[in-house]
Structure formats: C-alpha cells, structure tokens
C-alpha cells in the first residue's frame, strides 16, 4: 500500500467513480445489457444442444424403434422402459410401450449414441419441460413420436 491507498478517503472516491461509471452507462445503454428478458427473449442454442427426446419414423410412418433395449441398457438414470411386441407383418420386433420418465432423465445423450437404428434423438431443442403433475412427465410412445 502506498500513501494515498493507506489514507483511504481517496480510494473511496475512486471506487465510487467506478460504480458511478457503471450506473450511468447502464442507464443510457440499457439495450446493451447482457441480461435476456427470458420468456420473451431466448438464448440461441448450440446445434448439438441436448433437449427433450423424440422418436423417429420410417418413410412409411412406422416407428424406427425395434425394441432392442440398447437405450434402456445404456441409460445411467434408468429412465427408459420399453416393452417389446410382435409386428403384424411378421418382421422385426416393435416397441409396444416406450416410456421416458423425464423426471429421472439426466440428458446425457447415451440413449442416442446407443441406438443402432437412429430411432431416438435429442434434437428438439425443447428444454421448458415443467408441468403440474408427475404423471404428465412420463412421456409415452405417442407423445415421443408425434410431438
């Protein structure tokens, strides 16, 4: 500490100069403030942002999922539960039930990486998932396929 710093009235005035500068700048340039007015303004998400899941369809409209249980096995949060069933035309297996408990999901993206058929993706960019009942936050296959 040099002499003016030890006699701190001067330093006090300098500090007040700093805060005054911020005050004046922010009053006159409110639109340059880094704050986003959230519900109205939203951040631009990066391309690889992991949002809510969706299930993909084949070209004929049937789900691509073959109920191989890879995603369920890979899931560290244990939030996916699949029930496999027969396909009407005798082809591959198909998921009869495909539930994601979004309350347990940690958005790690392992399910997407595990999937051999590119049936599950997390590219919806949706992150406002709040709801008023727990039951509504267990997404079923219809919801995941179509919304």
């Amino acid at each position: 500490m040099n002499a003016p710093e030890r006699w701190y009235l001067i330093e006090v005035l300098r500090g007040m100069g700093v805060s005054l500068r911020h005050l004046v700048r922010n009053i006159f340039h409110q639109d340059e403030m880094p704050t986003l007015q959230y519900p109205e303004e939203k951040r631009i998400l990066p391309e690889r942002f992991r949002g809510r899941h969706r299930l993909m369809k084949r070209e004929d409209g049937t789900p691509r999922c073959t109920a191989c249980f890879c995603c369920q096995t890979a899931c560290p949060a244990d939030c996916i539960s699949i029930e496999a069933g027969e396909r009407e035309d005798g082809g591959e297996k198909v998921a009869v039930r495909f539930d994601i408990n979004i309350l347990r999901c940690v958005f790690c993206g392992f399910c997407v990486e595990a999937c051999p058929c590119d049936a599950i993706r997390m590219d919806t960019g949706k992150y406002e998932l709040a709801d008023d009942r727990r039951e509504k936050l267990i997404y079923d296959i219809d919801f995941l396929l179509n919304r």
Partner: protein, 423 residues
C-alpha cells in the same frame, strides 16, 4: 386562529407523509441503482394495466407479499416489546422531519406562518434526542426476541449508534457555533446570501470538515453501508433474526425513512435547506411571475425530453412483448405530452400573481429545492452502499473513537478560534 390550526395540521401531515412516501421510492431507487451498478436490469416484471414504470410497481407488490406472509412470534419472546420494537423504529425515524422548515416563513395580513410542523427553539437538541431513540428500538428488538444472536446483534448496534452519536453531535456543534442558534429555522434562514462573491453562503463551505464528519456519522446512525453491522442483511445476523412479515418490513421502512430524514437534516443544516442558491426569498417573491414561468417552462421541457426518451423505447417494447406491455411507452408519452401542453398553456396565460399567490408559489419552489437536495443525499446513500464493503467491528469502533471524535473536537476548537478572531 383556524388558519393557524389548519396550517399546522397540514404541515404536520406533510412532515409525516414526506418520509413515509419516500419509502417505496427509495426502495425502488435502491433496487434499480444497485442493479445498474452491478450490470443487471433490476426489477421490471410487476405491472398494472401494462404499466411497469421501470419497476416502480414492485414496491406495491412487495407490500402485498409482506402483509400476507405468516407473522411469527417466538414462543418465549416478550410479546409486548417484540411487537413494539419495529413500530417504535418506524415512528422514531419519522419524528425528526417535523422540526425541519420546508420553506421560508409566510406572511399573511401581519401574521407569520413558519413552514414547519414543530417550532422549537432548541431544534438541534430535538433532532439529536429523537435520533438517539432509534437505539431503543434496536435494543428492545434484540432483547425481546429471546434469541442469543438477536441479543448480540442488538448490543453491537447499540454500541455503534451510541459511539457515532457523539461524533454526530460534535459535528453539529460547529454549525451551531457558526449560526449562533439552536433553531433549525434560523440556521436555514441564516444560510442566505453569498460567500466570497460566488459561493452560496451554505454551512458546508464554512464547515467542510464538520460536514464530512457529520455525513460519516449519519451513515453510521442510519445503519447504512459501510456501517450496516446492526443489520448485516446478507452475512452477519442482526437484531431482527426472529422477525417476519410486516414487522420485519417495518425495520426496513424505518431504515429508509431515517435515510430520508437524515438526508433532509444534512440538506437543511449544511446545504441551505429550502434556500435557492444565490437568490434570496425577497428577490424570488418580487419576481414571482418570472419564477412561475421558469418553473412551468422547466416542467414542460422535462416532459418533452421524457416523451422523446419514451419514443426511443417504443420499438424495443413492441419487439420484445406481444401483450399490453408493448403499449407502455405510448401511454407514458401521452401523459408526458399532456402535462407539457398544460404547463405551456399556463406559461402563456400567466402574467401576474396576487401577493398571496406569489408567497405560496415561492414556498412551493423552495420546498422543491429542499426535496431536490434531500434526494441528492439519498442518492449518495445508495451509491455508497453499493460501492463500499462493510467495516469490521473493531475498525468501526476505531474509526468512531480514534478518528471522528478527535477530528470533531479539533474542528470545534478551530471554529471557535476563528469565530473569536473575527468578532
């Protein structure tokens, strides 16, 4: 007789209302200024019919929230004193304002009407006595809570406030010596005229050291940063740990009210109170129509500037919001333009004033000057709070007893010697 009664009643009402009305304004100013100093936007969500007024609606929302919150009393607290303390704090912080003159004395038909609620020739002593009472509220709150931390907080505050009261009183004695009276009315009236040909003859120029000491002691007396150890909102536990709901809010209302009252005292005793710089009351009254024109012109100019600023916000609001908030700037612009038009019309038709009109007008102008000076001080209070860190307790005591009190005594001695020399 009835004129006196009405005037005193009106003044008492004004004296109680001014600090009370300042509370929501100061809360808003504090939140908004702290936000801007820290590069945030601050409150801007609460709205009434789409009008948000830059967050000015938030204090009302706060009040609704605080009133409807659960009001707890600790089981073993002393219920009477526990309830008394917050309201005592608020009451005491409103009291000192009554002694301050709001304008020069009015003369109606040979009758003098002093523009203050309480005419007391020992007014300075009254101010010191009343601010001293604030200690009781704090100590009672700490004791009645039946909580060790609250008690310690109360003790800490009592020590602080009593210590700084000494410096506060001593720095005021300098002003009393210069003015030669204890009456705030006369102290303010004595600050008219000019010093060295260019400075307004305010006590701050005659007592610069006294003013700095008074200001520092005032910060400590009102428990504001950097001396806010009694409250220590965020870190240390203060005397009001046990309080909740509106009783808790009362302490904060008291803090803001005493901030306003303290600012008014500082403005009155050191910055000439209602004195318009360089221009005396007689000159103002003689040129009342001109003063009225300047006042209305200034109001119109202010409104037009505000309307222009609102114009700049229109596009931004419309882009951001899709609801009624987007029309806020338009509505405010209408109000500003209407006010500007009315004051311009008044400006055009105003040529002469009756003598009583001139007196009332000048009184209003002087009141506006007092208000402006007071608000400048409250600005300083808030500005300091969001700049400086808090003192440690021993630093606080060291500053009070080892720096402020000796300096105040020295200032007193020098003032006395200089006064003797010139007499």
């Amino acid at each position: 007789m009835w004129v006196d009664v009405t005037v005193v009643a009106a003044l008492a009402f004004a004296a109680a209302l001014a600090p009370l009305m300042s509370i929501p304004l100061l809360v808003w100013a504090e939140r908004k200024m702290s936000a801007f100093i820290q590069d945030r936007t601050g409150p801007n969500r609460a709205e009434i019919l789409g009008l948000r007024l830059g967050g000015l609606v938030h204090p009302f929302a706060d009040v609704v929230k605080l009133i409807t919150k659960e009001d707890l009393t600790p089981e073993r607290a002393d219920r009477f004193y526990y309830t008394l303390a917050p309201f005592l704090a608020l009451f005491v912080s409103l009291l000192a304002f009554a002694i301050l003159p709001l304008a020069d004395t009015l003369h109606f038909g040979g009758r003098a009407l002093p523009m203050r609620a309480l005419t007391l020739n020992a007014g300075i002593l009254y101010i010191l006595a009343v601010t001293g009472f604030h200690v009781y509220a704090v100590v009672i709150a700490g004791w009645a809570s039946h909580n060790g931390y609250a008690l310690l907080g109360g003790l800490r505050s009592a020590a602080q406030m009593v210590s700084y009261e000494l410096a506060l009183g001593l720095s005021l004695v300098g002003v009393v010596l210069v003015a030669g009276t204890l009456d705030p009315g006369e102290i303010v009236a004595g600050q008219s005229g000019v010093l060295f040909g260019f400075l307004p003859r305010w006590n701050v120029f005659l007592q610069p050291v006294g003013f700095v000491l008074f200001l520092i002691a005032l910060f400590a007396e009102t428990n504001r940063n950097p001396f806010d150890l009694p409250e220590g909102e965020s870190e240390i536990i203060g005397f009001h740990v046990e309080y909740s709901s509106m009783r808790f809010a009362s302490f904060f209302m008291a803090e803001y009210a005493s901030m306003f009252t303290g600012s008014a005292v500082a403005a009155s005793l050191f910055f000439g109170g209602w004195q318009v710089p360089w221009i005396g009351t007689e000159a103002l009254r003689a040129n009342a129509p001109l003063v009225a024109r300047v006042a209305f012109g200034a109001l119109a100019a202010f409104c037009i500037v505000a309307a222009l600023i609102a114009q700049g916000y229109k596009g931004r609001l419309a882009r951001l919001y899709r609801d009624r908030r987007s029309r806020e700037a338009t509505v405010l612009q209408m109000i500003f333009l209407f006010t500007a038009a009315v004051s311009l019309i008044l400006l055009a038709f105003l040529s002469t004033l009756p003598p009583w009109g001139a007196q009332v007008l000048i009184a209003l102008v002087q009141g506006a000057f007092l208000l402006g000076k007071t608000l400048a001080f409250t600005f300083l209070f808030i500005w300091v709070r969001w700049t400086l860190p808090r003192f440690r307790y021993d630093q606080l005591m060291g500053l009070g007893w080892k720096s402020l009190v000796p300096l105040a005594l020295l200032n007193l001695a020098v003032t006395g010697i200089v006064l003797l020399w010139f007499d």
